[in-house]
Symmetry: C2
Subunit: 344 residues, 2 copies
């Protein structure tokens, strides 16, 4: 297989922080999930929030005008809200124009693109500001070469999509920092990229370059440094399994943490597919990971227990721990200390 | 994971046959491999060949001028030659311009694109002809839904890249037709697409749509009809394994034929990676295939014995047959009858 010349669009771009988080006219807290994620995981990058009349979300940050945000050092207005359909509301546009005029870049992970709106393109050009659509790869990724790299890598591998792989990697990264250990969260999806300001939007990368993009994301590093790589999809999810395998082979993990959501009744978006057992997932994932990194181990299980009460959450984790013979926690609920203890 | 709006470029396009095969100033036969493949597998689509002074390749077809080819019914000039670097020679350009003016479309699988050459774009627009770069996906592929489809599918799965997966699928398709059975070769790479005139350039499809592109390529069909799907990459090739898994899950094969080249000393392009054993490949591929099609079986082995003499080829196949307990042949050398006998 070979590279597609047309697939290679180039422009390296990192989202400048700190951020002003745009909540717009969010009808509820859930629709401001992206902003909440940024505030939860990178509060130090947020100078404030911008809310329009009727906004029902509140991150507890200072409400700032565009001008005050710029005075406070903000570099980028980050669209932290999604309305129904993930599109850009007309009512947001005038704010975006003013933001560019005030000297802010704008970053968005929405389906429809900032760079497809002529008015924004025109103003951003005139004002020399950037429109950053994190769904579009900004880098000419190489084809993977499979070479061993220095430093260590941990990958979150899920029984399904949306079972907590990003939160697991973020929680482990945070716990590593608290423990004084070297670690970097490596985002592979839109929300993760907005949280950290860079990363690889892997689902939008051309097939031949997927694994190479992950190698690019997780380069040589100090021997004791760990990359905490956000997983995507699932080896058992027919729509996205290829992306997952590219992550396993490009990421070359030394450690895999299996991620699971215990109340899911079928694969996300596929009512006719059951979730695999955690034991099955381990049996399939580990031999594949060892192709690239023979030292790879499955070290722990991370359970998203959001749908369980406290007692049920503890009980479920204990059951899995006994069945799998691996430390099992909900890192968001119980902390990630036991997970990172497995990384040596 | 979700779709990337920017990734969706649309225009349905099939390469019109019959073809005039362009050999240019090919320095040797090997550089005309694509043309040779088309002539070997679809002789009925070739009205002739076009050779420039100094051309060292000869397919044994009639040498035709552009005008005579058009008179003989040719619809498309197919670039069947690759020079060093896979680029379009300056010396070819004047021929391409004349071909468009004579009323031919041009199709190419080369790295650099016809549609990136302003002169060709201008003439093709003026003359209302098409420039078809088969490395660029022409269809807005869906995200895979994993639904069972009617009809049957056979997928070639290799220990490595370039071990004979396309030839295996083509040979099986030909044997099916000879046996009066319903079958369609489904190309997933540039050469296969040029051979048949349509298909999916899977290595150039955006990650989220890979499996959906394969579902699109292998739709519902008559119960007794078999799709012979060209494989890509290898589950054990770190650069491209994600593409291979998307083929397994999108193709939902009822039957898998394992493909192998016995003299390969390492994975293609990766001197630091050994090839997997055929037994290993079966152990890894089958459980993954059963996620989507629980009835899937590994039915046979196809060996590319081009580097072995007659006796060694027979002996090697016999050894593999005994080890794997599966019919094992080189379908190009020994015929594919024993392979298709396994498809019921």
């Amino acid at each position: 297989m070979v590279k597609s010349a047309r697939a290679l669009k180039v422009l390296f771009m990192i989202i400048q922080s700190p951020y002003l988080l745009f909540l717009g006219d969010a009808p509820d807290s859930l629709s401001a999930k992206v902003a909440q994620g940024i505030k939860d995981w990178r509060p130090e990058t947020c100078v404030g929030q911008f809310r329009q009349p009727g906004c029902q979300a509140d991150l507890g940050l200072k409400d700032l005008s565009l001008q005050d945000a710029v005075k406070a050092g903000a570099k980028t207005l980050v669209v932290g809200v999604a309305n129904r359909g993930g599109v850009i509301s007309d009512s947001w546009l005038s704010v975006f124009v003013e933001a560019l005029e005030a000297g802010l870049d704008i970053a968005s992970g929405l389906h429809n693109l900032l760079s497809d709106i002529p008015m924004l393109v025109e103003v951003s050009n005139t004002r020399n500001r950037k429109l950053i659509d994190v769904r579009i790869p900004q880098v000419q990724y190489p084809i993977a070469n499979g070479h061993p790299r220095s430093g260590k890598r941990c990958l979150a591998v899920g029984t399904d999509c949306s079972v907590g792989k990003m939160y697991t990697a973020l929680a482990m990264d945070k716990a590593m920092h608290r423990a004084g250990r070297a670690s970097t969260f490596r985002p592979t999806g839109q929300t993760g990229i907005l949280i950290t300001g860079d990363g690889v939007p892997l689902d939008a990368v051309v097939a031949d370059f997927m694994a190479g993009a992950v190698e690019y994301l997780t380069p040589d590093n100090d021997d004791a440094h760990w990359d905490m790589i956000e997983g995507q999809g699932s080896l058992f999810h027919p729509s996205y399994s290829g992306v997952t395998l590219a992550l396993i082979h490009g990421g070359a993990p030394d450690a895999i943490v299996l991620c699971h959501e215990p109340t899911r009744t079928h694969m996300r978006g596929l009512p006719h597919y059951n979730l695999p057992m955690l034991t099955e997932l381990r049996e399939v994932a580990l031999p594949l990971a060892k192709v690239v990194n023979p030292a790879c181990k499955v070290v722990a299980v991370s359970v998203n227990t959001a749908a369980l009460d406290d007692e049920a959450a503890i009980r479920y984790c204990a059951e899995v721990e006994s069945e799998m013979g691996l430390p099992t926690v909900d890192p968001y609920r119980h902390g990630a200390t036991r997970l990172i203890a497995e990384l040596d």
